[in-house]
């Protein structure tokens, strides 16, 4: 992995945690909920907010997606330069149609990442995502998962990571810097 510039000038202004030197974001080899192959290279020129979750998530994912949708709304016209990509950690239940329906209830522009278990696990590994499954007596299950949002700049560099729980305004702040930088 080749390092890009040692530290982009705006790096220390971000409210998210920042990575230095900035390195290319690991590529995704998945299917998109929009029916197209999902690759981060498709979104060069946009700032990508990448997160992992699942459509049956009752706590973390709805909050994260609502926050990201709210941030896009607050950005107004600038939101066109932001793409949210949400990769499922539950390939057993989340197919493209399910993710499209789930994500569409927050923002119609959000794209889900789906694939086989092996494809999903490869994506999780490349971003250091931890996933744990809890199975109930009736056979149903829920999934605990890393809940940070990865911020990928317009050149495809993994610039920053926003831990779960940051308010909408923190995203708006950082996105404005990255969109203008």
């Amino acid at each position: 992995m080749a390092a890009q510039a040692a530290e982009p000038p705006a790096q220390s202004q971000l409210k998210a945690g920042t990575l230095t030197p900035v390195m290319p974001a690991p590529e995704l080899k998945l299917d998109g909920s929009d029916g197209k192959p999902l690759s981060l290279a498709n979104y060069r020129g946009k700032v990508v907010l990448l997160a992992f979750g699942f459509s049956n998530c009752g706590e973390v994912c709805p909050v994260t997606l609502f926050t990201l949708a709210s941030a896009r709304k607050k950005l107004g016209d600038e939101a066109a330069g932001v793409q949210v990509v949400y990769v499922t950690v539950d390939p057993q239940r989340d197919d493209a149609a399910q993710m499209r329906k789930f994500l569409g209830s927050f923002d119609a522009t959000f794209v889900g990442g789906v694939g086989t278990m092996a494809q999903i696990e490869a994506a999780e590994k490349s971003y250091g995502i931890s996933v744990s499954r809890k199975v109930y007596a009736d056979g149903s299950y829920t999934i605990g998962h890393s809940s940070s949002i990865y911020i990928i700049d317009r050149g495809g560099g993994l610039r920053a990571v926003m831990p779960y729980g940051h308010p909408v305004d923190d995203f708006v702040h950082d996105l404005k810097i990255l969109l203008r930088g």
């Binding site: 990575l19 230095t20 030197p21 390195m23 250091g128 890393s146 990571v161 831990p163």
Partner: protein, 143 residues
């Protein structure tokens, strides 16, 4: 009590009062707001060999306005997962905090795999400043 003893006591009390006044009212200055930790080269290899090497404490305390940025540098030959992200070899992760709270993170650099970061509010009142200074001094003595 002789006049000399009274004078000495007065001087001691005056010095203590001045010290308390300084500790309670002088602004707290830190050279850097970053609390830095390094993951040394060879950490993964040592772990793999069965050495329960501890790189980071399992509990880190930060204080808003004084020391409120966590900086972790990965000097190891392999990626390390710290809480919200994965750090490649040679990469640093700088995480600023703006809210006082207790944060739990997964951390592969730690033998237990868990790291707690307590972020305290900025000490503003005199008593809080004195308490902060005394605790910092005490912890430096322990090292």
């Amino acid at each position: 009590m002789s006049r000399v003893v009274r004078l000495i006591l007065l001087v001691v009390l005056a010095v203590l009062a001045a010290a308390a006044g300084w500790a309670g009212f002088a602004p707290i200055h830190a050279e850097t707001r970053e609390q830095a930790f390094d993951i040394p080269r060879g950490t993964w290899a040592r772990r793999r060999a069965g050495d329960l090497v501890e790189i980071l404490p399992d509990h880190i305390r930060l204080t808003l306005g004084i020391k409120d940025v966590l900086l972790i540098r990965n000097h190891d030959e392999v990626p390390q997962t710290f809480g919200p992200t994965i750090m490649m070899p040679g990469q640093s992760f700088r995480l600023p905090f703006e809210r006082a709270a207790s944060y739990q993170f997964v951390c592969s650099a730690h033998a237990s795999g868990q790291l707690t970061i307590e972020v305290e509010p900025e000490p503003v009142l005199p008593w809080a400043k004195i308490h902060w200074r005394v605790r910092e001094w005490w912890e430096k003595q322990k090292k």
